[in-house]
Symmetry: C2
Subunit: 249 residues, 2 copies
DNA sequence: AATAGCCGTTGCAAAATATGCAACGTGAGG
DNA sequence: CCTCACGTTGCATATTTTGCAACGGCTATT
């Protein structure tokens, strides 16, 4: 491990909580302010941070470039785009693409609904593990021991009356996802929205991403949503094919 | 300047061009692979990079978090949101918010058109300086010496038949922007789209951001677009007020 | 199935950088 | 105009970073 680098990246993380002065930042990593200044100067030269006025530092514009590049490098985005765009055009509902990376589920693409509606999700953001359809799809494909380990280390904050709130119930739900081949978010994440999700597989059959479709309950009841499962599965199959998956049966 | 940190950030920048092996990365910064490995291990622990299989590194998910936080820290986004959303709802056209940071113009917010249309712009991306309405608004407010310096150091790639392609013409255009109080992109950036932009001012009258509205030529001709200037200026005024600007007259 | 090659990984002595310090400069507020 | 707070600088010292040689693992070829 590199101590200087560790300190500098800690500074960047600290600036994620808002602009800070040199003094504050040197306190965070417990070094002399002249040391902190040198680190900030180097971060600034790479545009990871920038000066805001005379006294404050804040996050810099390189982060936008890098985040965009990080998204574009997720090949499954490109492979899945046509299929997801078509599902969005066909149904008019919000379609998400998410992947499981470093123990988190990240939205890596999103096609907005043509109906006016506000949703929490945003590309680059994490999806809660315990209550979203994409997370259930992704976690259900983990090897059983790993799945159990992850389920037991997760937190289960109740977000709606339907939220799953313990590991045992969650693991049972993941088992149902495995059996059915798709997942449901029965207003577990947001009260007024329900959602279905399905796996996108790679060349060796492994789940490389999840696609989901989210619908406001006022626009479609649960039965109506389930009627769209075949469309979702067809989309997931099409995207899987683009990712090199060929099913054996 | 911190050499280790500089090397590590160079690695991150290199990974913006695609996944790389340890060997490739150590070559980029001209150090022994054990040194590169140590830097990558530290970057990985902060989730700036992640391992992809056994042999490749790629950009990590911390970049999504940081980019999102970097956006949220731009206060003008929040201050301007209501006004920009209203303009978008009223007209149905794409509305952008951009700021001038570190010598670049960055889109920091965007409200998509309700009509189906594809645009280059994306939040977090840079806007070309020579041919977009937001860039003209932002650069026109620079002190004259600085404006001239920037105009003379810029490049002017021709993107359409209408693109401005030299500094002299560009400075004249910025002068017109200053006089009129708003900017126009007369299909200089994209052939089928034209665009108007206006300044959002801060408490001391300085331009802190630019708002723009982009319209396909097939939907509205140039005269029709100019007829929307009063709406745009009203939006810019409302947003400026939220940013602490009070005009003296 | 075994071997070779390639690439990632490790521990440690030597090389090199990072660090803290004291003093200075600047800007803002009283 | 003075004082205080915070950013900035140059340099000797302290500490980390570095490269090296050897090892381990994985994949491909024989």
């Amino acid at each position: 491990m590199s101590q200087s680098l560790d300190r500098a990246l800690t500074l960047v993380g600290e600036l994620a909580t808002g602009p800070k002065t040199l003094e504050e930042l040197s306190g965070v990593i417990d070094v002399h302010k002249s040391t902190a200044l040198r680190l900030l100067r180097t971060l600034e030269s790479h545009r990871f941070v920038q000066r805001e006025g005379v006294h404050h530092y804040r996050l810099g514009t390189a982060l936008f470039d890098l985040a965009n590049r990080a998204l574009e490098e997720r090949d499954v985005r490109r492979s899945a785009e046509a299929a997801l765009r078509e599902l969005n055009a066909l149904t008019g509902y919000t379609v998400h693409l998410a992947s499981y990376e470093g123990g988190e589920v990240i939205y890596i693409d999103k096609y907005d609904s043509t109906h006016p509606m506000r949703m929490y999700s945003r590309v680059g953001r994490r999806a809660p593990l315990h209550c979203t359809a994409v997370a259930k799809v992704l976690l259900s494909d983990l090897p059983e021991a790993k799945r159990r380990e992850v389920a037991e280390s997760m937190e289960y904050p109740r977000l709606t009356a339907n939220t799953i709130t313990d590991a045992t119930a969650y693991l049972a739900e993941l088992e149902r996802v495995r059996e059915r081949g798709y997942a449901m978010d029965n207003s577990e994440h947001e009260d007024f929205i329900h959602c279905i999700g399905a796996p996108i597989r790679g060349s060796r059959g492994e789940v490389v991403a999840a696609v989901s479709m989210s619908v406001p309950k006022v626009m479609l009841d649960f039965e109506g949503l389930l009627a769209l499962v075949p469309n979702l599965l067809a989309t997931a199959r099409a995207a899987s094919t683009e990712c090199g998956y060929s099913p054996r049966d």
